[in-house]
C-alpha cells in the first residue's frame, strides 16, 4: 500500500490516457526530469492490448517504474456499448418501480425546447428492467429507526431467483439506508454467504446520500460494472506484472483523484469520467506553475467543447453526473460539455437562422477539407477558408487538408444565406464562438465568478484556434496556450492524480450538532481517503455540503483544518453565508443552516513537469516566421496578409502581434487583431488584448 520507491532504481511515473483513437502514454522521471511519450492504437473490445502496446513503445524498463496512473474509458465504454453485466436489484418493498417512474420531468427531447413540447420524446428505459428487480420486507424511517426488520428468509429466496434468472451482479438499495446502513450491510453478508462469486454493491458503500432514486440507480450502475472492471484490472495488472512492473497501479477517478485496484473493484463507478478529467487537472497544475489561480480550462476537439472553471488552482467538483439520463451520484469534475468542435456542422434552421452544431461529422467522414467523404460545411472548413488553418500543418494528425473542398462546401452554404464565401465562413466561426462563450458564461458569471479575473487555458486540436475570440466574447483578459496543446490531456494523468476522496451523508441542522461530532466524522473520512494515498507529504482538505434550512440545493464549502467548539461552528456558518453570497448574490444570516454531507480529500503534491523550455531570445519573433499568407481577420472575413509562425522556432521572450497564426504539430493558434502574445520562459504562450501580457 505504499507509493514509496523501492530503491532509487524505481522512480519513473507513467501516465496513460485511453482515447477514442489512440492510447497515449507519457513517462516522467522526477529525479532526472526526463519525459518520454509514445502512443499506440486504442483497441476497443480489449483495451489492455493497446495499453500494453503503448507502454511497450516507451522502451522503458518497467522495473524502473514506481507508479502507473491511467485514465480508462472501461466503465464508460461498457455503459455505452451495453457490455456491462446483467444486474439484479434488491430493494425495500414498495419502491423498486422508481426505476421506471424516475423523476418524471420531461427532458428527453433532442433540445431543451423539444423537451417541453414533444409528445413523442422517449423516456429512458429503467436501468434495471422490472423482471430483474425484487423487493423484500424491511423499512427504516427517518431519522434512522428500524420500523420493519429485514426479512432474511425472503432476501435469500429473492436473490436466489435473481441468480437463477441470470443476474451476474447484484445491487442493494434500501430506503433511508444513509441514515441507518445496518440492513444493507446484513444483506451483503447474507448474499456473500449464499453466492460467494456474485459481485454485490450496496448503496451506502457507493453513494451514501439522501434521495433514493439517484442512489438506487447509482448503485445498480456500479454493480453492473463490477465484473468488467474486475476483469480489466486483473488483466492489466497481470500483463504489466509479467513485464516486470512491480510498482503501484492507480486509476483516475471522475473527480481527478486516483485510487488503486482494491478500491475500484468494488466501486468501478468512481472511474466513470476518469478520461476527460485529465485535461482539467493538467490545466489546474499548469495554472499553479504560472501563478494564475483562476483559469477556464477550454478543450475543443472534433465534436465537443469541454470547459471547466478552475478557481484557486482547483478543479470544480459536482456531486452528480449522468449517463444516458441515469443519474450518477458520485463526485465528478464539473465539466460542461457542449456540441461545438471542429467537426460541428453549419446549417440554416427552418426559420433561416444560422446554427453550428450540435450535429457533427465526427472523425468519419470528418470535415469536407479532410477529403474523406465529408460534404457538409463544418467549423474546421470555415477556418480553412479563412486561412486560419493552413495546409502545411494539421490539428488532426496525419490528415491532409484540401482547402478547395472547404471552399466548395462553404461557398455553397454562402449561396444559401446570400453572402460571399469569406463572410459566411466568418459567420460560422462567430456563431460557434458565441455558443462556446455562452457555455463559459454559464459557468462563470452565473456562479458569481467575474470572467475578468480569469485566464482562458486553451488546448485540444481546436481550442487555441478560437481562444482569443472566445476570451474577448466573455471578457476574459488573457489566453494561455500550453506546449503541445493537442496532447495536453494525457499529461493530466502524470501531474494529477495524487488525490483521493471520501464522503458521507450527515443530514442535520448545524445548530443541533457539535464541533466534536463533526470533527469525529471528518476524521473517519480523512482516514478513508488517506488509506489510498500513503505518503509523507499528504495534505488533507475537508468540505461540507450545506444549505439554508428549507432550501433543496446544497453548496459545497471548504472547511478549516480544525473546527473548535461553538466558535468553530460559527466560523463554518460564516463560510457558508459568504459562499452563498458569492454564488447567488445574497446571504441570509438570520436563517438556520443545515449540514447535508461531509467530504475529505487526501492529496500528495503533484510533480513539476518540464516539457523542454525554449531557448531565450529577444522580443522579435521574425526568425520563427515560416510564411505569410492571406488570413480572414475581419468581422466579415476580410483578408489581410499575416505572418505564420512555427511554434518550435519561437524563443522565450518573443512577442507576437495579432493578427497572426502559430502552427505546431498538434494544433494551430490564431491571434486575432488587437491581441498580442509573449512566449513565457516555460514555453507557454501568454496572450492578452491590451498588447501587454500581464
Amino acid at each position: 500500500m505504499s507509493t514509496a520507491v523501492a530503491g532509487s532504481d524505481r522512480s519513473w511515473v507513467v501516465g496513460i490516457d485511453i482515447g477514442g483513437t489512440f492510447t497515449d502514454v507519457v513517462a516522467f522521471d522526477p529525479g532526472e526530469g526526463a519525459v518520454r511519450a509514445a502512443k499506440a492504437p486504442t483497441t476497443p473490445g480489449n483495451l489492455v492490448e493497446g495499453v500494453i502496446a503503448a507502454v511497450g513503445a516507451l522502451e522503458l524498463d518497467l522495473e524502473a517504474v514506481a507508479k502507473i496512473v491511467h485514465g480508462s474509458t472501461t466503465a464508460t465504454n461498457a455503459l455505452l456499448e451495453g457490455t456491462y453485466a446483467p444486474t439484479g436489484f434488491l430493494g425495500t418493498r414498495g419502491f423498486s418501480d422508481e426505476f421506471d417512474i424516475q423523476r418524471m420531468v420531461r427532458r428527453w427531447g433532442e433540445t431543451e425546447w423539444s423537451s417541453i413540447y414533444d409528445l413523442h420524446q422517449e423516456k429512458p428505459p429503467p436501468f434495471v428492467p422490472r423482471h430483474r428487480r425484487r423487493e423484500v420486507d424491511e423499512r427504516v424511517v427517518y431519522p434512522g429507526t428500524v420500523e420493519t426488520p429485514l426479512d432474511e428468509e425472503e432476501l435469500r429466496a429473492r436473490v436466489a431467483e435473481l441468480v437463477a434468472d441470470g443476474a451476474e451482479a447484484l445491487a442493494v438499495c434500501f430506503i433511508w439506508s444513509p441514515a441507518n446502513p445496518e440492513h444493507e450491510r446484513r444483506a451483503k453478508e447474507l448474499v456473500a454467504a449464499a453466492h460467494p462469486e456474485l459481485p454485490v454493491s450496496i448503496s451506502t458503500e457507493v453513494a451514501p446520500v439522501v434521495r433514493e432514486y439517484e442512489r438506487m440507480v447509482t448503485t445498480a450502475v456500479n454493480a453492473s460494472l463490477m465484473p468488467v472492471m474486475g476483469d480489466y484490472l486483473a488483466a492489466v495488472g497481470r500483463e504489466l506484472g509479467e513485464r516486470g512492473f512491480a510498482g503501484r497501479l492507480l486509476m483516475m477517478q471522475s473527480h481527478g483523484g486516483v485510487a488503486g485496484p482494491e478500491e475500484l473493484v468494488g466501486r468501478p463507478i468512481l472511474t466513470l469520467r476518469g478520461g476527460p478529467v485529465g485535461g482539467a487537472v493538467a490545466a489546474a497544475e499548469l495554472a499553479r506553475s504560472l501563478g494564475r489561480p483562476n483559469v477556464v480550462s477550454f478543450d475543443v476537439g472534433g465534436t465537443s467543447c469541454d470547459t471547466a472553471v478552475v478557481v484557486d488552482y482547483r478543479v470544480p467538483i459536482a456531486e452528480q453526473t449522468e449517463v444516458d439520463y441515469h443519474p450518477i451520484q458520485v463526485a465528478t469534475a464539473d465539466l460542461l460539455c457542449i456540441g461545438a468542435g471542429g467537426g460541428s456542422i453549419a446549417a440554416l434552421d427552418a426559420g433561416g437562422m444560422l446554427a453550428v452544431g450540435p450535429r457533427s461529422t465526427g472523425s468519419t467522414p470528418g470535415p469536407a477539407c479532410y477529403a474523406r467523404g465529408g460534404e457538409e460545411p463544418t467549423l474546421t472548413d470555415a477556418n480553412v477558408v479563412l486561412g486560419r488553418v493552413g495546409g502545411r500543418n494539421l490539428s488532426a494528425g496525419g490528415v491532409t487538408i484540401e482547402a478547395e473542398r472547404a471552399e466548395a462546401v462553404i461557398g455553397a452554404f454562402a449561396g444559401e444565406i446570400g453572402r460571399d464565401t469569406a463572410a459566411a465562413a466568418a459567420g460560422i466561426v462567430r456563431v460557434a464562438v458565441a455558443t462556446m462563450a455562452d457555455s463559459i458564461r454559464l459557468q462563470t458569471i452565473d456562479r458569481g465568478h467575474d470572467p475578468r479575473d480569469f485566464s482562458l487555458l486553451a488546448y485540444g486540436g481546436a481550442g487555441p484556434l478560437h481562444a482569443t475570440l472566445v476570451a474577448e466574447a466573455c471578457a476574459i483578459p488573457e489566453v494561455i496556450v500550453p506546449l503541445a496543446p493537442g496532447a495536453f490531456s494525457s499529461l493530466g494523468m502524470l501531474v494529477a492524480g495524487q488525490g483521493s476522496y471520501a464522503q458521507a451523508a450527515f443530514l442535520i441542522p448545524l445548530e443541533e450538532t457539535t464541533a466534536a461530532e463533526v470533527e469525529g466524522r471528518l476524521a473517519a473520512l480523512a482516514a478513508e481517503a488517506e488509506r489510498v494515498q500513503a505518503g509523507a507529504e499528504l495534505t488533507v482538505r475537508r468540505f461540507a455540503a450545506m444549505r439554508y434550512q428549507l432550501q433543496e440545493w446544497e453548496l459545497r464549502v471548504p472547511l478549516p483544518d480544525r473546527i473548535d467548539g461553538e466558535a468553530g461552528l460559527a466560523d463554518v456558518a460564516a463560510r457558508f453565508h459568504a459562499a452563498h453570497r458569492e454564488r447567488y448574490g445574497f446571504a441570509r444570516e438570520d436563517q438556520p443552516i443545515e449540514l447535508v454531507a461531509l467530504f475529505a480529500e487526501a492529496a500528495t503534491p503533484a510533480p513539476r513537469l518540464d516539457l523542454g523550455r525554449p531557448e531565450a531570445g529577444g522580443e522579435d519573433p521574425a526568425a520563427a516566421v515560416v510564411e505569410r499568407r492571406p488570413v480572414g481577420v475581419g468581422e466579415d472575413g476580410e483578408a489581410e496578409q499575416v505572418p505564420v509562425y512555427e511554434r518550435s522556432l519561437l524563443r522565450a521572450g518573443n512577442v507576437l502581434a495579432g493578427p497572426c497564426v502559430i502552427e505546431e504539430l498538434t494544433a494551430t493558434t490564431y491571434l486575432q487583431p488587437g491581441w498580442s502574445a509573449r512566449v513565457d520562459p516555460s514555453g507557454v504562450l501568454l496572450a492578452s488584448a491590451d498588447g501587454a501580457a500581464r
Binding site: 414498495g94 418524471m104 427531447g109 439522501v210 433514493e212 433561416g352 459567420g427
Partner: protein
C-alpha cells in the same frame, strides 16, 4: 448591419437573450425554499419589450410561458410605462388580469438604459401557500376567488430598490407559511436582478436602437416560421370534446368542446359549445385556455420555432365569456389551470388527430392529482403546508407506446424524493409503484400511472384534494382504449380496505374536496391516471403483450379481454420474475 448579415447577428442576439433567461432560472431554482420551485420547476423567466411583447424566454413551465403574453402585456397597458422606475418591482397574482390561477405571482421589473425604459425582466412563480380556505390554495370545493387565497392587484413590492414593507406585511400575514413565501420571493427578486444586469450589459454593447429593431425582426421571423408550420396542416375544421368528472360542488359531469379551424397560415381554436362557468373551481381563465391551445399547437409543429411574441400571433382563440374556458369574476378558478388546462391541451390535440394522424398521440392522464395538506408539525411545532402532485401515463401514438409516469404537458415538474418528503412532512410512504393495467390498450398502449400510499404520522393532518379523470379515462385514438382512471382513497386506522372520500367522509365529489382531517395511522392512496391507447389492441404483437404480462404492467385477465391473448398463449415462465 446589412440585411444579409441577419442570419448571423440575429442568432447571436436570440441565443444571448435565451441564455439570460436560463441564467435567471438557475439562480431562482437554486435559491428558492419551496419544493414547487426547486424540485418542481413551477416558474418561468422571460424578457419583454417596453410594450409588453415577449422578447425571449427559457424552457420552464409551459402553462406560464403561454399565459405571460397576457399577464405582462395587460399589466404594462394598465399601469402605463411611466409607472416603472429603476429599482421598482411590481407584483400581481390576479387571475382576471391574465394569470393562470391565484398561486402564480408575476414579478415585473423595468430594464433601463441611460434613464430610458427598454423593456422588462419577468418571473412568474407558483407560491405554495397563499392563505384562503384551505392549505395550498387548490381546494376542490371553493366557489369564489375570494376563498382561494390572498389576491394582489398590481402593486409595488420594491420601490427604488427598497422593500415596500406594507405589501410584504400583508402577504406575510395572510400566507400560512410566510417563511417560504419570503424565501421564494427573494429567489424571484434575485433572478430579476440577474436579468436586468445582463440586458443592461447587452444594450451597452450593441446599442438600444439596433437591439429594438433586431428583437422586432426576431419576432417577425418566428411568426413567419409558425405561419409556415400552420400552412402545412391540411385546411379544414376539426372538432373534439371531452367531459370532466364534476366541479366539486355538484356531481354532474361538464363538457369541454373545441372546433379547430385551419385556414391557410392561420389557426383558430373556438371553444363555443363548452359548458357554462361552474360554481366549483374548475373554471379556466382566458389565459389558461389560450396557453393550453398554444401548448397543443407547439407539440404538433416544429419544436424549434424561437419562442417570442411572434410565434403566438398566428394562433387565435375564441373562448366565450362565462364558460368553463373563460371565467368571469368572481368565479372560482384555482383548478382551471391544473385540471381544465390539461383537458384543453388534450382536446386541441384530439381535434387535430384527423389532420395530423402521424403527429398526435392519444390522451395523456390529464390531471395533476393535486393533494394538499398541512398542520402543525409534531416535531418542529411549526406550521407546514405542502402542495403535492403526481405524474401520469401519456398516450400511445402511431409509432410508439406512451411513456409511463411523466409530468402532465402543461408543466415540467419533478417529483419530490421520498426521502426528502419524509424529512419535511409527517408521513411515511408505504409504497410508490406503477399502477398495472392503467395504460389504455392499443396497438401502442398508453403509459402507466402510479400508485402512492402515505401513512399519517402526526396526531392529525388537514388535507384537500383537486383531481379530475376519476370517472372517465383519457381518450384512445384509432381504436385504442381509454387509460385507467385516477383516484384518491383513504383507509382509516384499523379498517380493512381503502374507501373513497365520498364514503368515508361524505364529500360530494370523490376527488375535489377540502379540509378533511385525517389522523395518525390513517393511510391515503393516490392513483394517477394512465394514457389512452392508439390503434386496435388486437394488432399488438404477441411478444409485446407477453412482455407486459411478464413485467406485471398488464394482468392476464386484461390481456385476454382487451388484447385477445389467452393465458395459454402467454409462454411458460412468463409469470415468474414479478417484482414482488
Amino acid at each position: 448591419m446589412s440585411g444579409s448579415d441577419e442570419a448571423i447577428e440575429l442568432v447571436l442576439l436570440h441565443n444571448r437573450l435565451t441564455s439570460i433567461c436560463r441564467e435567471m432560472g438557475v439562480a431562482m431554482m437554486r435559491t428558492a425554499y419551496s419544493p414547487v420551485f426547486n424540485e418542481g420547476f413551477d416558474f418561468i423567466c422571460a424578457l419583454f419589450d417596453r410594450e409588453g411583447e415577449m422578447i425571449a424566454q427559457a424552457e420552464y413551465n409551459p402553462s406560464m410561458l403561454g399565459a405571460a403574453n397576457f399577464s405582462v402585456g395587460w399589466m404594462v397597458e394598465e399601469l402605463g410605462a411611466e409607472a416603472f422606475a429603476p429599482g421598482d418591482v411590481w407584483i400581481h397574482n390576479d387571475p382576471y388580469r391574465g394569470g393562470c390561477h391565484l398561486p402564480e405571482h408575476l414579478l415585473l421589473k423595468g430594464i433601463f438604459h441611460e434613464g430610458e425604459l427598454f423593456g422588462f425582466a419577468a418571473t412568474i412563480g407558483h407560491v405554495a401557500e397563499i392563505g384562503g380556505k384551505a392549505v395550498g390554495a387548490l381546494a376542490g370545493d371553493v366557489t369564489e376567488v375570494y376563498q382561494e387565497g390572498l389576491r394582489l392587484p398590481p402593486v409595488r413590492l420594491m420601490a427604488g430598490g427598497e422593500h415596500v414593507m406594507d405589501v410584504w406585511k400583508i402577504m406575510m400575514t395572510n400566507h400560512r407559511t410566510p417563511k417560504l413565501t419570503w424565501g421564494d420571493l427573494h429567489a424571484m427578486l434575485g433572478s430579476l436582478r440577474i436579468g436586468e444586469q445582463r440586458v443592461e450589459a447587452l444594450l451597452a454593447a450593441r446599442g438600444v436602437a439596433a437591439t429594438r429593431r433586431d428583437v422586432a425582426e426576431l419576432s417577425d421571423r418566428s411568426e413567419r416560421w409558425m405561419r409556415r408550420e400552420i400552412a402545412a396542416i391540411p385546411d379544414g375544421e376539426y372538432a373534439f370534446e371531452d367531459v370532466m368528472d364534476d366541479d366539486g360542488i355538484s356531481a354532474e359531469p361538464r363538457r369541454l368542446r373545441v372546433n379547430v379551424a385551419v385556414r391557410g397560415e392561420e389557426l383558430i381554436a373556438d371553444f363555443t359549445g363548452t359548458d357554462p362557468q361552474t360554481a366549483g373551481p374548475i373554471n379556466a381563465t382566458f389565459a389558461v385556455t389560450a396557453s393550453g391551445t398554444y401548448n397543443a399547437i407547439f407539440q404538433l409543429t416544429d419544436r424549434e420555432v424561437p419562442r417570442n411574441a411572434g410565434c403566438y400571433r398566428p394562433i387565435r382563440v375564441i373562448a366565450p365569456p362565462g364558460t368553463l374556458v373563460n371565467v368571469l369574476h368572481p368565479g372560482a378558478e384555482i383548478g382551471g389551470n391544473s385540471e381544465t388546462h390539461c383537458r384543453i391541451v388534450g382536446i386541441v390535440i384530439g381535434a387535430l388527430a384527423a389532420a395530423l394522424p402521424e403527429r398526435v398521440a392519444a390522451g395523456d392522464g390529464a390531471t395533476g392529482c393535486n393533494f394538499l395538506f398541512g398542520g402543525v408539525h409534531p416535531e418542529t411545532g411549526e406550521f407546514y403546508a405542502n402542495y403535492h402532485f403526481e405524474n401520469v401515463g401519456w398516450g400511445g401514438a402511431r409509432h410508439r407506446d406512451g411513456n409511463d409516469s411523466q409530468c402532465v404537458p402543461l408543466a415540467i415538474s419533478r417529483n419530490t424524493p421520498i426521502e426528502v418528503f419524509e424529512t419535511r412532512y409527517p408521513f411515511v410512504t408505504v409504497g410508490f409503484r406503477l399502477q398495472p393495467d392503467s395504460g389504455g390498450a392499443g396497438r401502442h398502449r398508453g403509459g402507466l400511472g402510479t400508485e402512492r400510499i402515505l401513512e399519517v404520522r402526526a396526531p392529525e393532518v388537514t388535507i384537500s384534494s383537486l383531481f379530475d379523470r376519476t370517472a372517465t379515462g383519457s381518450y384512445g385514438l384509432e381504436g385504442g382504449l381509454p387509460g385507467g382512471c385516477a383516484s384518491i382513497e383513504v383507509r382509516r386506522r384499523g379498517e380493512e380496505r381503502f374507501r373513497p372520500f365520498t364514503e368515508a367522509f361524505g364529500t360530494v365529489s370523490p376527488a375535489k374536496f377540502s379540509n378533511v382531517t385525517v389522523h395518525a395511522g390513517d393511510q391515503i392512496r393516490i392513483v394517477s391516471s394512465g394514457g389512452g391507447g392508439f390503434g386496435d389492441p388486437r394488432e399488438r404483437p404477441l411478444e409485446e403483450v407477453r412482455r407486459d404480462v411478464r413485467d406485471r404492467v398488464l394482468s392476464p385477465q386484461r390481456a385476454a379481454a382487451e388484447y385477445g391473448v389467452e393465458v395459454d398463449e402467454l409462454s411458460a415462465g412468463v409469470l415468474s420474475g414479478s417484482p414482488d
